[in-house]
Protein backbone atom coordinates (compact mmCIF):
# COMPACT_ATOMS: atom_id res chain seq x y z
CA UNK A 1 0.00 0.00 0.00
CA UNK A 2 1.02 3.56 -0.50
CA UNK A 3 0.04 4.69 2.97
CA UNK A 4 2.96 7.05 3.19
CA UNK A 5 2.56 8.39 -0.34
CA UNK A 6 1.98 12.12 -0.27
CA UNK A 7 0.45 13.75 -3.37
CA UNK A 8 0.67 17.49 -3.97
CA UNK A 9 0.93 19.95 -6.83
CA UNK A 10 3.82 22.13 -7.98
CA UNK A 11 3.94 24.81 -10.66
CA UNK A 12 7.07 24.78 -12.82
CA UNK A 13 6.93 28.57 -13.23
CA UNK A 14 7.62 28.99 -9.51
CA UNK A 15 10.79 26.92 -10.05
CA UNK A 16 10.18 24.85 -6.92
CA UNK A 17 13.00 22.61 -5.65
CA UNK A 18 10.95 19.59 -6.81
CA UNK A 19 11.50 20.38 -10.49
CA UNK A 20 15.05 19.02 -10.53
CA UNK A 21 13.77 15.71 -9.13
CA UNK A 22 10.89 15.69 -11.62
CA UNK A 23 13.33 16.26 -14.45
CA UNK A 24 15.45 13.34 -13.29
CA UNK A 25 12.43 11.07 -12.92
CA UNK A 26 11.30 11.94 -16.44
CA UNK A 27 14.78 11.39 -17.85
CA UNK A 28 14.88 7.94 -16.25
CA UNK A 29 11.71 7.20 -18.24
CA UNK A 30 13.02 8.61 -21.54
CA UNK A 31 10.85 11.71 -21.24
CA UNK A 32 11.76 15.38 -21.44
CA UNK A 33 10.20 18.09 -19.35
CA UNK A 34 7.56 19.76 -21.56
CA UNK A 35 7.72 23.50 -20.94
CA UNK A 36 4.02 23.97 -21.68
CA UNK A 37 3.02 22.19 -18.50
CA UNK A 38 1.32 24.56 -16.08
CA UNK A 39 1.16 22.27 -13.11
CA UNK A 40 2.48 18.92 -11.96
CA UNK A 41 0.99 16.44 -9.55
CA UNK A 42 3.90 14.81 -7.74
CA UNK A 43 4.02 11.97 -5.27
CA UNK A 44 6.57 11.94 -2.48
CA UNK A 45 7.39 8.71 -0.74
CA UNK A 46 10.13 8.26 1.86
CA UNK A 47 11.51 11.66 0.98
CA UNK A 48 11.72 11.12 -2.77
CA UNK A 49 9.54 12.15 -5.72
CA UNK A 50 8.48 8.76 -7.05
CA UNK A 51 5.74 9.75 -9.51
CA UNK A 52 4.62 12.79 -11.51
CA UNK A 53 1.99 13.80 -14.05
CA UNK A 54 1.88 17.17 -15.84
CA UNK A 55 -1.11 19.16 -17.02
CA UNK A 56 -1.01 21.56 -20.00
CA UNK A 57 -4.52 23.08 -19.97
CA UNK A 58 -6.56 19.96 -20.81
CA UNK A 59 -3.73 17.65 -21.87
CA UNK A 60 -1.84 15.31 -19.55
CA UNK A 61 1.81 14.80 -20.40
CA UNK A 62 5.05 13.82 -18.75
CA UNK A 63 3.67 10.99 -16.66
CA UNK A 64 6.29 8.88 -14.91
CA UNK A 65 6.47 6.47 -12.00
CA UNK A 66 9.85 5.46 -10.55
CA UNK A 67 10.66 1.86 -11.32
CA UNK A 68 10.84 0.73 -7.69
CA UNK A 69 7.51 2.42 -6.88
CA UNK A 70 5.51 0.76 -9.64
CA UNK A 71 2.36 -1.10 -8.77
CA UNK A 72 -1.32 -0.64 -9.38
CA UNK A 73 -2.23 1.40 -6.36
CA UNK A 74 0.26 4.24 -6.79
CA UNK A 75 -0.30 4.71 -10.53
CA UNK A 76 -4.10 4.67 -10.23
CA UNK A 77 -3.94 7.14 -7.35
CA UNK A 78 -1.73 9.38 -9.51
CA UNK A 79 -4.29 9.18 -12.35
CA UNK A 80 -7.14 10.03 -10.00
CA UNK A 81 -5.19 12.97 -8.58
CA UNK A 82 -4.43 14.52 -11.94
CA UNK A 83 -8.00 14.04 -13.23
CA UNK A 84 -9.43 15.72 -10.12
CA UNK A 85 -6.84 18.51 -10.34
CA UNK A 86 -7.97 19.15 -13.93
CA UNK A 87 -11.61 19.21 -12.78
CA UNK A 88 -10.75 21.80 -10.12
CA UNK A 89 -9.27 23.88 -12.92
CA UNK A 90 -12.49 23.54 -14.93
CA UNK A 91 -11.17 20.94 -17.39
CA UNK A 92 -13.25 17.78 -17.78
CA UNK A 93 -12.60 16.63 -21.33
CA UNK A 94 -8.97 15.54 -21.10
CA UNK A 95 -6.37 14.29 -23.53
CA UNK A 96 -3.21 12.39 -22.79
CA UNK A 97 0.01 11.62 -24.64
CA UNK A 98 1.59 8.24 -24.10
CA UNK A 99 4.22 6.03 -25.62
CA UNK A 100 2.38 3.24 -27.47
CA UNK A 101 3.69 0.54 -25.11
CA UNK A 102 2.12 2.30 -22.09
CA UNK A 103 -1.37 2.33 -23.56
CA UNK A 104 -2.71 -0.41 -21.24
CA UNK A 105 -1.46 1.54 -18.22
CA UNK A 106 -3.54 4.59 -19.19
CA UNK A 107 -6.57 2.49 -20.08
CA UNK A 108 -6.62 1.89 -16.32
CA UNK A 109 -6.97 5.64 -15.85
CA UNK A 110 -10.14 5.64 -17.96
CA UNK A 111 -8.44 6.96 -21.12
CA UNK A 112 -9.16 5.58 -24.59
CA UNK A 113 -6.87 5.70 -27.65
CA UNK A 114 -7.73 8.08 -30.51
CA UNK A 115 -4.79 7.86 -32.89
CA UNK A 116 -1.35 6.30 -32.84
CA UNK A 117 1.75 7.44 -34.63
CA UNK A 118 3.47 4.07 -34.90
CA UNK A 119 6.41 3.61 -32.53
CA UNK A 120 6.15 7.18 -31.33
CA UNK A 121 3.03 8.27 -29.53
CA UNK A 122 -0.62 7.63 -28.83
CA UNK A 123 -3.16 10.37 -28.19
CA UNK A 124 -5.88 9.27 -25.76
CA UNK A 125 -8.97 10.95 -24.31
CA UNK A 126 -10.87 10.32 -21.10
CA UNK A 127 -14.11 9.21 -22.71
CA UNK A 128 -15.09 6.07 -24.58
CA UNK A 129 -17.73 7.98 -26.56
CA UNK A 130 -16.72 11.64 -27.02
CA UNK A 131 -15.08 11.29 -30.46
CA UNK A 132 -17.99 9.21 -31.72
CA UNK A 133 -20.47 11.81 -30.49
CA UNK A 134 -18.49 14.50 -32.28
CA UNK A 135 -18.42 12.49 -35.52
CA UNK A 136 -22.16 11.91 -35.21
CA UNK A 137 -22.72 15.66 -35.02
CA UNK A 138 -20.64 16.03 -38.20
CA UNK A 139 -22.32 13.19 -40.06
CA UNK A 140 -25.68 14.95 -40.13
CA UNK A 141 -23.96 17.72 -42.12
CA UNK A 142 -22.83 15.39 -44.91
CA UNK A 143 -23.51 16.63 -48.44
CA UNK A 144 -23.85 14.64 -51.63
CA UNK A 145 -21.16 14.96 -54.29
CA UNK A 146 -18.04 13.34 -55.64
CA UNK A 147 -15.56 16.01 -54.65
CA UNK A 148 -15.92 17.15 -51.07
CA UNK A 149 -13.37 19.62 -49.76
CA UNK A 150 -12.17 20.51 -46.28
CA UNK A 151 -10.25 23.56 -45.04
CA UNK A 152 -9.03 24.44 -41.55
CA UNK A 153 -8.47 28.15 -40.94
CA UNK A 154 -7.04 30.01 -37.99
CA UNK A 155 -7.75 33.32 -39.74
CA UNK A 156 -5.88 35.54 -37.34
CA UNK A 157 -7.48 37.70 -38.80
CA UNK A 158 -9.40 36.78 -42.00
CA UNK A 159 -7.69 38.26 -45.09
CA UNK A 160 -8.35 38.39 -48.82
CA UNK A 161 -5.87 35.51 -49.00
CA UNK A 162 -8.24 33.34 -46.97
CA UNK A 163 -11.14 34.48 -49.10
CA UNK A 164 -9.24 33.51 -52.26
CA UNK A 165 -8.36 30.07 -50.88
CA UNK A 166 -11.95 29.34 -49.83
CA UNK A 167 -13.38 30.62 -53.14
CA UNK A 168 -10.94 28.54 -55.22
CA UNK A 169 -11.68 25.41 -53.20
CA UNK A 170 -15.44 25.94 -53.30
CA UNK A 171 -15.29 26.34 -57.07
CA UNK A 172 -13.44 23.03 -57.48
CA UNK A 173 -15.68 21.04 -55.11
CA UNK A 174 -19.28 19.92 -54.95
CA UNK A 175 -19.26 21.00 -51.32
CA UNK A 176 -16.72 22.56 -48.97
CA UNK A 177 -16.49 22.12 -45.18
CA UNK A 178 -14.62 24.94 -43.42
CA UNK A 179 -13.39 24.72 -39.81
CA UNK A 180 -12.15 27.61 -37.71
CA UNK A 181 -9.46 26.82 -35.13
CA UNK A 182 -11.14 27.10 -31.72
CA UNK A 183 -8.20 27.54 -29.40
CA UNK A 184 -8.04 30.99 -27.84
CA UNK A 185 -4.29 31.20 -28.21
CA UNK A 186 -4.03 33.68 -31.08
CA UNK A 187 -3.90 37.48 -31.18
CA UNK A 188 -7.61 37.67 -31.94
CA UNK A 189 -10.21 35.80 -29.92
CA UNK A 190 -11.96 32.76 -31.34
CA UNK A 191 -15.30 34.58 -31.30
CA UNK A 192 -13.87 37.47 -33.33
CA UNK A 193 -11.99 35.22 -35.75
CA UNK A 194 -15.09 33.10 -36.33
CA UNK A 195 -17.31 36.14 -36.93
CA UNK A 196 -14.84 37.55 -39.46
CA UNK A 197 -14.66 34.24 -41.34
CA UNK A 198 -18.46 34.01 -41.39
CA UNK A 199 -18.71 37.54 -42.76
CA UNK A 200 -15.82 36.99 -45.17
CA UNK A 201 -17.14 33.85 -46.87
CA UNK A 202 -20.63 35.24 -47.45
CA UNK A 203 -21.81 34.73 -50.99
CA UNK A 204 -20.10 31.34 -51.37
CA UNK A 205 -23.09 29.06 -51.26
CA UNK A 206 -21.67 25.55 -51.39
CA UNK A 207 -19.95 25.58 -48.04
CA UNK A 208 -20.65 24.82 -44.39
CA UNK A 209 -18.78 26.73 -41.70
CA UNK A 210 -18.05 24.89 -38.45
CA UNK A 211 -16.89 25.99 -35.06
CA UNK A 212 -13.55 24.35 -34.27
CA UNK A 213 -13.17 21.55 -31.79
CA UNK A 214 -10.60 20.01 -29.49
CA UNK A 215 -9.92 17.52 -32.30
CA UNK A 216 -8.78 20.08 -34.91
CA UNK A 217 -5.55 22.06 -34.41
CA UNK A 218 -5.96 22.41 -30.67
CA UNK A 219 -3.52 22.49 -27.78
CA UNK A 220 -4.18 18.77 -27.46
CA UNK A 221 -3.69 17.71 -31.08
CA UNK A 222 -1.04 20.17 -32.17
CA UNK A 223 0.61 22.00 -29.27
CA UNK A 224 3.43 23.29 -31.49
CA UNK A 225 1.06 25.35 -33.63
CA UNK A 226 0.47 27.84 -30.85
CA UNK A 227 4.17 28.26 -30.13
CA UNK A 228 5.13 29.30 -33.61
CA UNK A 229 5.46 32.96 -32.73
CA UNK A 230 8.10 31.90 -30.24
CA UNK A 231 10.03 30.15 -32.98
CA UNK A 232 9.83 26.73 -31.36
CA UNK A 233 9.92 24.90 -34.63
CA UNK A 234 10.91 21.56 -33.19
CA UNK A 235 7.45 21.31 -31.62
CA UNK A 236 5.76 21.66 -34.97
CA UNK A 237 5.23 17.96 -35.28
CA UNK A 238 1.66 17.58 -36.53
CA UNK A 239 1.08 13.88 -37.18
CA UNK A 240 -1.48 13.44 -34.40
CA UNK A 241 -3.61 16.33 -35.64
CA UNK A 242 -3.54 15.08 -39.22
CA UNK A 243 -4.33 11.49 -38.28
CA UNK A 244 -7.40 12.67 -36.38
CA UNK A 245 -8.55 14.48 -39.51
CA UNK A 246 -7.93 11.43 -41.65
CA UNK A 247 -9.38 8.79 -39.33
CA UNK A 248 -12.41 10.62 -37.90
CA UNK A 249 -13.30 14.02 -39.32
CA UNK A 250 -12.86 13.39 -43.05
CA UNK A 251 -14.73 10.04 -43.03
CA UNK A 252 -17.61 11.57 -41.01
CA UNK A 253 -18.13 14.23 -43.67
CA UNK A 254 -16.95 12.27 -46.70
CA UNK A 255 -14.11 14.75 -47.31
CA UNK A 256 -11.94 13.70 -50.26
CA UNK A 257 -9.68 16.75 -50.51
CA UNK A 258 -7.96 18.99 -48.04
CA UNK A 259 -7.17 22.48 -49.29
CA UNK A 260 -4.38 24.59 -47.97
CA UNK A 261 -2.68 27.83 -48.98
CA UNK A 262 0.98 27.60 -49.95
CA UNK A 263 3.19 28.94 -47.18
CA UNK A 264 6.07 31.14 -48.27
CA UNK A 265 6.89 32.65 -44.87
CA UNK A 266 6.06 30.80 -41.69
CA UNK A 267 8.26 27.72 -41.08
CA UNK A 268 5.72 25.99 -38.78
CA UNK A 269 2.87 26.24 -41.27
CA UNK A 270 5.22 25.28 -44.09
CA UNK A 271 6.21 22.13 -42.24
CA UNK A 272 2.54 21.43 -41.43
CA UNK A 273 1.69 21.57 -45.14
CA UNK A 274 4.49 19.13 -45.96
CA UNK A 275 3.41 16.74 -43.20
CA UNK A 276 -0.15 16.99 -44.48
CA UNK A 277 0.85 15.21 -47.65
CA UNK A 278 2.56 12.45 -45.68
CA UNK A 279 -0.19 11.75 -43.19
CA UNK A 280 -3.32 12.44 -45.24
CA UNK A 281 -2.21 10.92 -48.53
CA UNK A 282 0.60 8.44 -47.99
CA UNK A 283 0.61 7.01 -44.48
CA UNK A 284 -1.12 3.64 -44.11
CA UNK A 285 -4.54 4.01 -42.53
CA UNK A 286 -7.82 2.15 -42.37
CA UNK A 287 -9.37 5.21 -44.03
CA UNK A 288 -9.03 6.24 -47.69
CA UNK A 289 -6.33 8.79 -48.59
CA UNK A 290 -7.30 12.45 -48.79
CA UNK A 291 -5.84 14.45 -51.66
CA UNK A 292 -3.95 17.51 -50.44
CA UNK A 293 -4.36 20.48 -52.76
CA UNK A 294 -1.97 23.35 -52.16
CA UNK A 295 -3.25 26.57 -53.68
CA UNK A 296 -0.69 29.32 -54.34
CA UNK A 297 -1.37 32.28 -52.10
CA UNK A 298 -3.17 35.29 -53.48
CA UNK A 299 -0.73 38.17 -53.92
CA UNK A 300 -1.04 41.92 -53.97
CA UNK A 301 1.68 43.66 -55.96
CA UNK A 302 3.68 40.46 -56.14
CA UNK A 303 3.67 39.96 -52.35
CA UNK A 304 1.64 37.05 -50.96
CA UNK A 305 -1.08 38.17 -48.52
CA UNK A 306 -0.52 37.04 -44.96
CA UNK A 307 -2.32 37.53 -41.67
CA UNK A 308 1.06 38.02 -40.01
CA UNK A 309 1.63 41.07 -42.21
CA UNK A 310 -1.84 42.39 -41.32
CA UNK A 311 -1.02 42.09 -37.62
CA UNK A 312 2.28 43.90 -38.16
CA UNK A 313 0.54 46.73 -40.04
CA UNK A 314 -2.09 46.89 -37.31
CA UNK A 315 0.62 47.45 -34.72
CA UNK A 316 1.71 50.42 -36.84
CA UNK A 317 -1.92 51.48 -37.34
CA UNK A 318 -1.33 51.56 -41.06
CA UNK A 319 -4.96 51.11 -42.12
CA UNK A 320 -4.22 52.39 -45.62
CA UNK A 321 -2.13 49.31 -46.36
CA UNK A 322 -4.32 46.93 -44.36
CA UNK A 323 -7.28 47.91 -46.56
CA UNK A 324 -5.60 46.30 -49.56
CA UNK A 325 -5.14 42.97 -47.76
CA UNK A 326 -8.46 42.32 -46.01
CA UNK A 327 -12.16 42.38 -46.90
CA UNK A 328 -14.22 45.37 -45.77
CA UNK A 329 -15.71 43.39 -42.89
CA UNK A 330 -12.28 42.64 -41.40
CA UNK A 331 -11.14 46.23 -41.95
CA UNK A 332 -14.16 47.58 -40.09
CA UNK A 333 -13.48 45.23 -37.21
CA UNK A 334 -9.80 46.19 -37.00
CA UNK A 335 -10.66 49.88 -37.06
CA UNK A 336 -13.20 49.37 -34.31
CA UNK A 337 -10.45 48.06 -32.04
CA UNK A 338 -8.92 51.49 -31.74
CA UNK A 339 -10.59 54.33 -29.92
CA UNK A 340 -11.31 57.11 -32.43
CA UNK A 341 -9.47 59.83 -30.50
CA UNK A 342 -6.30 57.75 -30.48
CA UNK A 343 -5.92 57.32 -34.19
CA UNK A 344 -3.82 60.46 -34.65
CA UNK A 345 -1.06 59.26 -32.36
Amino acid sequence: MNATADFYTVQPKDAPPEMEEVRKLLAANDLELDDQIEVFVVCRQKGHIVACAGLDHYTIKCVAVAEDARGESLSLALGSEVVSLAAERGQYHLFLYSAPHNLPFFRGWGFYPLVEVPQRVVLMENSPVAIEKYCESLRVQRRPGKTIGGIVLNANPFTLGHRYLVAQAARACDWLHVFVVKEDASSFSYADRFALVAAGVKGIDNLTLYPGSDYIISRATFPGYFLKDKGLIESSWAAVDLLLFRDYIAPALGITRRYVGSEPFDPVTKSYNAQMKDWLQQAPSGQPPITVVEIPRASIGGVPISATEVRRLLAERDFGRIAALVPATTLQFLESLLPVNNTIQ
Binding site: E72, S73, L76, A77, G79, S80, V83, S84, A87, Y92, H93, G108, W109, G110, N126, S127, P128, V129
Partner: protein, 98 residues
Protein backbone atom coordinates in the same frame (compact mmCIF):
# COMPACT_ATOMS: atom_id res chain seq x y z
CA UNK B 1 -33.28 17.26 -12.47
CA UNK B 2 -31.11 18.31 -15.33
CA UNK B 3 -27.33 18.22 -15.51
CA UNK B 4 -26.31 21.80 -16.27
CA UNK B 5 -22.53 21.62 -15.94
CA UNK B 6 -19.72 19.12 -16.09
CA UNK B 7 -18.76 17.41 -12.86
CA UNK B 8 -16.93 14.34 -11.63
CA UNK B 9 -16.95 12.18 -8.52
CA UNK B 10 -14.84 9.22 -7.50
CA UNK B 11 -11.47 7.84 -8.56
CA UNK B 12 -10.09 5.17 -10.88
CA UNK B 13 -8.61 3.23 -7.98
CA UNK B 14 -9.46 -0.37 -7.35
CA UNK B 15 -12.94 -0.99 -5.85
CA UNK B 16 -13.99 2.56 -6.72
CA UNK B 17 -15.44 4.21 -9.84
CA UNK B 18 -15.18 7.54 -11.60
CA UNK B 19 -18.49 9.13 -12.56
CA UNK B 20 -18.51 11.96 -15.11
CA UNK B 21 -21.64 13.91 -15.83
CA UNK B 22 -22.20 16.60 -18.46
CA UNK B 23 -25.15 18.36 -20.09
CA UNK B 24 -26.52 16.08 -22.81
CA UNK B 25 -27.25 18.96 -25.13
CA UNK B 26 -30.32 17.22 -26.51
CA UNK B 27 -32.68 16.76 -23.60
CA UNK B 28 -32.01 13.07 -23.10
CA UNK B 29 -30.41 10.92 -20.43
CA UNK B 30 -27.48 8.93 -21.83
CA UNK B 31 -25.59 6.41 -19.74
CA UNK B 32 -22.29 4.86 -20.79
CA UNK B 33 -20.71 2.30 -18.49
CA UNK B 34 -17.24 0.82 -18.81
CA UNK B 35 -16.26 -1.70 -16.16
CA UNK B 36 -13.46 -4.14 -15.54
CA UNK B 37 -16.14 -6.57 -14.39
CA UNK B 38 -18.68 -5.81 -17.13
CA UNK B 39 -19.11 -9.46 -18.04
CA UNK B 40 -19.90 -10.60 -14.51
CA UNK B 41 -21.71 -7.57 -13.09
CA UNK B 42 -22.59 -5.28 -15.99
CA UNK B 43 -26.34 -5.75 -15.58
CA UNK B 44 -26.28 -5.11 -11.85
CA UNK B 45 -24.11 -1.99 -12.23
CA UNK B 46 -26.50 -0.64 -14.88
CA UNK B 47 -29.44 -1.27 -12.57
CA UNK B 48 -27.84 0.50 -9.58
CA UNK B 49 -26.91 3.50 -11.76
CA UNK B 50 -30.35 3.73 -13.36
CA UNK B 51 -32.15 3.40 -10.00
CA UNK B 52 -29.98 6.09 -8.44
CA UNK B 53 -30.63 8.47 -11.34
CA UNK B 54 -34.36 7.70 -11.18
CA UNK B 55 -34.48 8.48 -7.46
CA UNK B 56 -32.88 11.84 -8.16
CA UNK B 57 -35.28 12.35 -11.11
CA UNK B 58 -32.42 12.99 -13.51
CA UNK B 59 -34.02 13.24 -16.94
CA UNK B 60 -31.40 15.17 -18.87
CA UNK B 61 -27.66 14.54 -18.82
CA UNK B 62 -24.78 12.49 -20.16
CA UNK B 63 -23.40 10.07 -17.57
CA UNK B 64 -20.13 8.24 -18.23
CA UNK B 65 -18.88 5.69 -15.73
CA UNK B 66 -15.46 4.10 -15.41
CA UNK B 67 -15.90 1.31 -12.88
CA UNK B 68 -13.11 -0.50 -11.07
CA UNK B 69 -15.17 -3.14 -9.35
CA UNK B 70 -17.01 -0.91 -6.86
CA UNK B 71 -19.68 -2.21 -4.49
CA UNK B 72 -23.28 -1.11 -5.08
CA UNK B 73 -23.27 1.34 -2.17
CA UNK B 74 -20.13 3.00 -3.56
CA UNK B 75 -21.70 3.23 -7.02
CA UNK B 76 -24.77 4.89 -5.53
CA UNK B 77 -22.74 7.39 -3.52
CA UNK B 78 -20.51 8.37 -6.45
CA UNK B 79 -23.41 8.76 -8.89
CA UNK B 80 -25.30 10.90 -6.35
CA UNK B 81 -22.27 13.10 -5.71
CA UNK B 82 -21.55 13.66 -9.41
CA UNK B 83 -25.19 14.41 -10.24
CA UNK B 84 -25.63 16.84 -7.34
CA UNK B 85 -22.48 18.68 -8.40
CA UNK B 86 -23.52 18.69 -12.06
CA UNK B 87 -27.03 19.95 -11.32
CA UNK B 88 -25.71 22.80 -9.18
CA UNK B 89 -28.18 21.57 -6.60
CA UNK B 90 -28.55 23.79 -3.52
CA UNK B 91 -31.44 22.27 -1.65
CA UNK B 92 -31.18 18.58 -1.10
CA UNK B 93 -33.92 16.19 -0.22
CA UNK B 94 -31.71 13.71 1.56
CA UNK B 95 -34.65 11.38 2.10
CA UNK B 96 -34.84 10.70 -1.61
CA UNK B 97 -31.26 9.50 -1.68
CA UNK B 98 -31.67 6.61 0.72
Amino acid sequence: MKVIKEAIAGTVESSDLLVKVAPSGKGTRDIVIRSEVMKQFGKQIKKVVTDTLDKLSVSDGSIVIEDKGALDCVIRARVQAAVLRGCGSQELDWGRLS
